[in-house]
């Protein structure tokens, strides 16, 4: 049992290391996986909300809102995610605490989970803005005009016409964004948030079985990706029901 050699001694040694009970590190990896998924879901949801507002600002906003949205999407899409994460993670929490202190409140400890969701959601929002803008533009103009002619308020129109009608156009892009969001959670390892990648690194560093653990982490990420693409395909098929297939039209 005490063969903490650099190469795991065959398959049994590998499974010992990956087992979820105490001597193995499987439980740590799974805990990291759950945290990664939490952040991915949160960031994706926040990205959707920002993206909805951003795309509305770009399409229907006044000149100033339109320019500000353009600045936001351009900047965020041109600066590396890692730099954005460091900038918002350290500088953002520092800024909030300075403002709080300036106002006479106590410093708050912002939890890694919340900070990670906010930071990645801010990045996702820029991409979601572009995806949703393109999808809204793909709606036949007559549908929106008809809704307006019925006297629908903007909110009602958004809920009843724009969002459902744009969904099939937006889904491929949103599916891509979801996959990016699951992979971007790995970047939080750099700022010390213990999601799957950092848990893997700690396990690998302790046991010296680098290959085993990184391959296991890769397999977990790959499983998430493949599993979500199956589900997303099903959702897209459902959202597209009744629409002519693109393949047949060609």
């Amino acid at each position: 049992m005490a063969d903490a050699s650099i190469i795991p001694a065959g398959i049994t040694g590998m499974f010992d290391l990956l087992s979820p009970v105490a001597p193995g590190w499987g439980a740590n990896l799974l805990r990291g996986l759950v945290r990664s998924l939490q952040i991915a879901f949160g960031a994706f949801g926040m990205g959707l909300i920002i993206g909805t507002f951003g795309s509305y600002a770009k399409l229907y906003g006044g000149p100033i809102a339109r320019d500000l949205a353009a600045v936001y999407t351009t900047l965020v899409r041109a600066i590396p995610e890692l730099v954005m994460i460091i900038l918002l993670y350290y500088a953002g929490t520092d800024l909030i605490n300075r403002i709080l202190e300036g106002l006479g409140y106590q410093r708050v400890d912002i939890s890694g989970l919340v900070a990670g969701i906010v930071v990645l959601g801010f990045v996702q929002g820029a991409y979601a803005t572009e995806v949703l803008r393109g999808a809204i533009k793909a709606i036949p103009q007559g549908e929106i005009e008809a809704a307006r002619a019925y006297g629908m308020s903007p909110v009602l129109m958004m809920r009843r016409v724009t969002l459902p009608a744009m969904l099939p156009h937006a889904l491929p892009g949103l599916a891509n964004l979801w996959l990016i969001s699951t992979k971007d959670t790995a970047l939080l390892a750099v700022v010390g948030f213990s999601e799957l990648t950092l848990e893997t690194r700690q396990a690998a560093g302790t046991t010296k079985a680098y290959m085993t653990f990184y391959l296991a982490a890769g397999a977990l990420y790959l499983f998430i990706t493949l599993f979500s693409s199956v589900i997303l395909e099903w959702v897209e098929k459902r959202a597209r029901r009744g629409m002519p297939s693109v393949k047949e039209a060609r």
Binding site: D67, V83, L87, K208, Y210, G218, L222, T225
Partner: protein
């Protein structure tokens, strides 16, 4: 722009609605309405206040290091994009029209690369492979060993494979999207298969993929800072060192973000130029 004069002459007599008003207005006035001037002024004021009120006295001391990091970032970017593209062409071709024993491994490669985070790939190669190599005496004795002990070969390898994985998928679509008639007529001319590929198939596929290629190059630039996590000294890692040395939070990061913005702008401009070189009326 060159035929604007001719167009307006024809348009004038029938222009009841000012359809071409934007075209006629001078481009500067249409691009700079009052609100945008105000926004630009606010932006300039922000930059100026950052330059005036923040601490930049560390710049001269770290100037050489920053240039070195910048050079390494650009060098890694260019090398991995070129190598990755060279690898992506066979990957795309194998998936688009290869036999199954080539197509399936190529698709599997692309799926695995696109399905796992680059950071995990990078650490797998650097820590995983890097911990395996020293155990084999013949590797330690080989000529390559001095390179394998450094970090940058792993960085280049990981970024190249990642770019090839994403780009292989793009090239698959591009190869499959070239109209069949083009290839058939090339065959009717009696071209050998490789000549068809070199003269007809590849150029048209690249032309189709060019806009995506530009986007992917920017994405690649955005993944270069990850190499700092395996001790390669690039632009990002210089910025973190300045932060550690001087205890400044914002200044190095803002400069870093500005640097990446500029490089992104240059990449987009270069690709736009390349796109303009190719006659765009196709099929």
């Amino acid at each position: 722009m060159s035929n604007a004069l001719g167009e307006t002459e024809i348009e004038v007599p029938i222009e009841t609605f000012p359809i071409h008003k934007e075209k006629d207005a001078s481009s500067l006035a249409s691009k700079l309405p009052p609100h945008r001037i105000v926004l630009i002024l606010i932006g300039l004021a922000l930059v100026a206040s950052a330059a005036l009120f923040m601490r930049w006295d560390w710049l001269p001391q770290y100037g050489g290091l920053i240039l070195q990091g910048l050079w390494r970032t650009i060098w890694i970017l260019v090398v991995t994009v070129v190598l990755g593209f060279l690898l992506a062409v066979p990957l795309g071709l194998a998936q688009a029209s290869g036999p199954a024993f080539l197509a399936i491994p190529a698709r599997a490669f692309c799926t695995v690369i696109r399905g796992t985070p680059l950071l995990v790939q990078l650490w797998l190669l650097y820590y995983g492979l890097g911990s395996l190599f020293p155990q084999y005496p013949w590797i330690r004795g080989s000529e390559l060993w001095p390179y394998l002990r450094q970090a940058w070969p792993y960085a280049v390898l990981a970024l190249t494979l990642s770019y090839a994985g994403y780009e292989g998928e793009v090239m698959r679509g591009a190869f499959a999207g070239v109209p069949k008639g083009q290839l058939e007529s090339a065959r009717a001319f009696g071209m050998p298969r490789f000549t068809i590929f070199r003269r007809i198939w590849l150029p048209q596929a690249i032309h189709r993929a060019l806009p995506t290629l530009a986007g992917e190059a920017v994405l690649q630039l955005k993944s270069t800072p990850l190499v700092a996590t395996i001790t390669v000294v690039d632009l990002y890692s210089v910025a973190s060192r300045v932060r550690q040395d001087t205890f400044l939070t914002y200044e190095p990061l803002l400069l870093l973000a500005a640097g990446y913005l500029v490089i992104t702008g240059i990449i987009v401009m270069l690709f736009r130029r390349v796109e303009r070189l190719i006659p765009s009326k196709l099929g």
